[in-house]
Each structure stands twice: as structure tokens, then as C-alpha cells.
């Protein structure tokens, strides 16, 4: 059977892509961010996942407002990265696992989640950068992938309560798959940041700390927040933390924090990172 070995939750700021492309990992501005990934690499060296399920949000590369799904699940053999408009270098294609995808899709729909099934899907920086950060030295991403895109663009967004339930169902779906696969769940986005409006540059360190704390042992605590609460407390783009919550909810065992990092600022964002190990 497939086994979820843990979750990696991380920010996905586009500027990271530029820093990687320019080799700025040791630059004083970037060093506290990139050094934070050492603990992830240590964990991966022994954890060795076969598949990454990536819970992220599309930023207007794959989806436009003409048809915007709440939850979109990939079912392709390959996912391509593409030009997002601001000159970020395009990363090599990602392998999918259609059989796993369809199993997950069947399970989610049986559990009354109204997903959009995507047999073609391009993936943006929110999907590609975390995978690049996990395996910086690999030319191509070494694990199979399953993209799960959550709407954080156009309100109404799925509530934290719904995301938590969705994450639980996603975990059940993956763990009922019959192949022996080690699966890591990624949750990308956040933490607190706001790009737009007169409140641009808003960051809330205390709220981020609370989220990172609750996510380890008591993730249901975050389901009491409304989306408006999250906008107020974490910023308009800080709502991306619902991707962390979804990923965390997929872990059903005893969860152990293996590693974390928190650094302000990366670009306009409070960057957070956690490795949560899932013990049966």
C-alpha cells in the first residue's frame, strides 16, 4: 500500500526562482532562506519519497477567471512548466502517475469532493519551486508528482474547514492506493504577505508563529478561522496558508516536526518551512 511519510510546507515566492537561476544562494539576503533547506535535504536523504503530491495554487498560468475550479486534481502522465510572463526560467517537465491520480480522483469523488479532473495541466512556480528547493541538484525532478490546485485567487475561496476535510480525504485516498509507494505531501504558499493595496507589505509574525505551531499537533484549530479572518491576519496572499492546512490534514498518524525555518523577508513575504513526519 502507499504510505504518506510526511509533509513539507513551504513558501513559493517567484523571486526564489530568480535567486536559483542566478546562483545567489550564498548571498547575504538569500542565505538565511536557502540554509533553511538543509534540514529538508537531510530528511529526504533517508525518507526517499517516490511521489510528491503538491497542494498549491495556480497564479493565472493554467486557470483564468473564465472557469475557475475550487479544487483541481491532475491526472496526466506529464506536467509542463511554462512562461508566467516575468522571465522566470522554465523548468523541465514533471512525471505524473496517472494510475495513482485516478485512484485519488475516484476516492475523492466518492467522498463527496467536487473536484475538477485535469488530464492536461501546466504548473506554475508554486508547484515547481518547492520541488526544485527539495532536489536542487537534480536536473529533472526525481519523483513522480500529483498536482492539486486550490483556488486562492477569486473569492469565495474554500474555507479552512473545507480544506481540512479535503486534506483528510486526500490522505485517505493516497493511503488506500495498492502500490507500495512512499508519498510526501507538499503544501506551498504563504506565510503572511500582501502584495496589493495600501496595506501592501503587511506581514504578521505572531500569526505565522501560531499557524506553524498549531499545524504540528492541532491543525483543526485553524479550521475556526474564516477566509476573511485569514485575509485580515495573514494578508490577501497569506490566505495561501490553506494549502499548508490541506497538506497537513493529509497526515493521519502521529506527526513529528523534523525541521522548520522562518525568515522575514523574502521579497514581500514571511517565508516559512516545515518538515512534518507522519508516524503510523
Amino acid at each position: 500500500m502507499a504510505r504518506i511519510i510526511g509533509a513539507v510546507t513551504t513558501s513559493h515566492v517567484p523571486a526564489i526562482g530568480n535567486a536559483i537561476a542566478r546562483g545567489m544562494q550564498e548571498d547575504p539576503y538569500w542565505k538565511p532562506f536557502f540554509r533553511g533547506w538543509d534540514g529538508v535535504h537531510d530528511w529526504l536523504a533517508t525518507a526517499k519519497p517516490d511521489v510528491a503530491v503538491v497542494v498549491y495554487n495556480d497564479h493565472g498560468l493554467q486557470f483564468f477567471l473564465d472557469k475557475l475550479p475550487t479544487f483541481a486534481v491532475g491526472a496526466a502522465a506529464e506536467y509542463q512548466n511554462a512562461d508566467e510572463g516575468w522571465g522566470l526560467p522554465t523548468l523541465p517537465p514533471y512525471r505524473g502517475n496517472p494510475d495513482l491520480s485516478w485512484h485519488v480522483i475516484e476516492s475523492l469523488v466518492a467522498d463527496e469532493f467536487d473536484i475538477t479532473t485535469c488530464q492536461e495541466m501546466v504548473v506554475d512556480h508554486a508547484f515547481t519551486l518547492p520541488l526544485k528547493l527539495m532536489w536542487p541538484d537534480a536536473e529533472q525532478c526525481p519523483v513522480m508528482t500529483l498536482p492539486v490546485a486550490v483556488n486562492t485567487v477569486q473569492h469565495p475561496l474554500p474555507t479552512p474547514a473545507r480544506c481540512y476535510k479535503f486534506g483528510r480525504a486526500l490522505g485517505r485516498a493516497v493511503e488506500s492506493y495498492g502500490e507500495d509507494l512512499k508519498v510526501v505531501i507538499l503544501g506551498t504558499g504563504g506565510l503572511s504577505h500582501q502584495l496589493d493595496g495600501q496595506r501592501a507589505g503587511f506581514i504578521n509574525k505572531a500569526f505565522d508563529a501560531m499557524c506553524m505551531d498549531k499545524l504540528v499537533g492541532e491543525p483543526e484549530a485553524l479550521t475556526r478561522y474564516s477566509i476573511d479572518d485569514l485575509v485580515e491576519q495573514a494578508g490577501t496572499q497569506g490566505v495561501e496558508v490553506i494549502n499548508w492546512l490541506t497538506a497537513r490534514a493529509a497526515l493521519s498518524g502521529t506527526v513529528n516536526k523534523v525541521h522548520s525555518n522562518y525568515h522575514i523577508p523574502i521579497s514581500n513575504t514571511a517565508s516559512g518551512l516545515m518538515v512534518l513526519e507522519n508516524r503510523a
Binding site: 498560468l61 510572463g85 509574525k205 476573511d228 485580515e232 514581500n268 514571511a270
Partner: protein, 119 residues
Amino acid sequence: MASRPRYAHRNIPGTTIFDGVQAQKGYALNKMCYSFNSAENRAAFLADEEAYCRKFGLSEVQRKAIAARDVLGLIAEGGNVYYLAKFAGIFNLNVQDLGALQTGMSVEAFRQKLVEAAR
């Protein structure tokens, strides 16, 4: 209107929640910005900004805000920052530049403000 309470979002100072009201208002504007995923379209925009805006059916207020690179104006007119970032990218403006423009600060002061958020 009795339907509004359920529909309305919280009033958060300096913040526009991109909901159905904004999504309708900004549809053409965001669709234009979405087209900037393509290098060919970015070039077409640069070749004739006004014509490109008209092709997508932007309102006069939106066209003026585009011409003036008026980010707050574009947001008021329904622009969503995920799409506007692609517009800004054409001019090599990053999200810190956008932040400075929107808060009326220098880019340096805006960056400093972010650093201070770490305290």
C-alpha cells in the same frame, strides 16, 4: 439588499478582497493581463498599448490606469494582483516595486519596512 450580508466581505483597511464584484468589474483587464503569459502578446502590447487595451475591451478608466501604471487604480477597477504582476513584469517591476508604488514609499523604504517586520 437582503442578500448582501452573506455575500459581503469584511472591510479591512487598505485591502480589496477580490470577490465576484471585483471579478466582474476587472474581467477584461485581468484577461488582458492573463494574455501576457505569452511573449508574443507582451510584444504586441508594447508595440501599441492603447490598441491592445481596446482589443480586450478595457474601460476608459482602466485604459488610463494602465497608461499611468497606476496600480491602486487598477485594483480599484477590478484588477487582481496575480494577473497585474504579469503586466508589471513587462516593465521589470517586481512585487517590491509594486508595493512601493501602492504605499507611496520609495522602494528602499518599502524594503526597510519589510525587514522591520521581522522584529
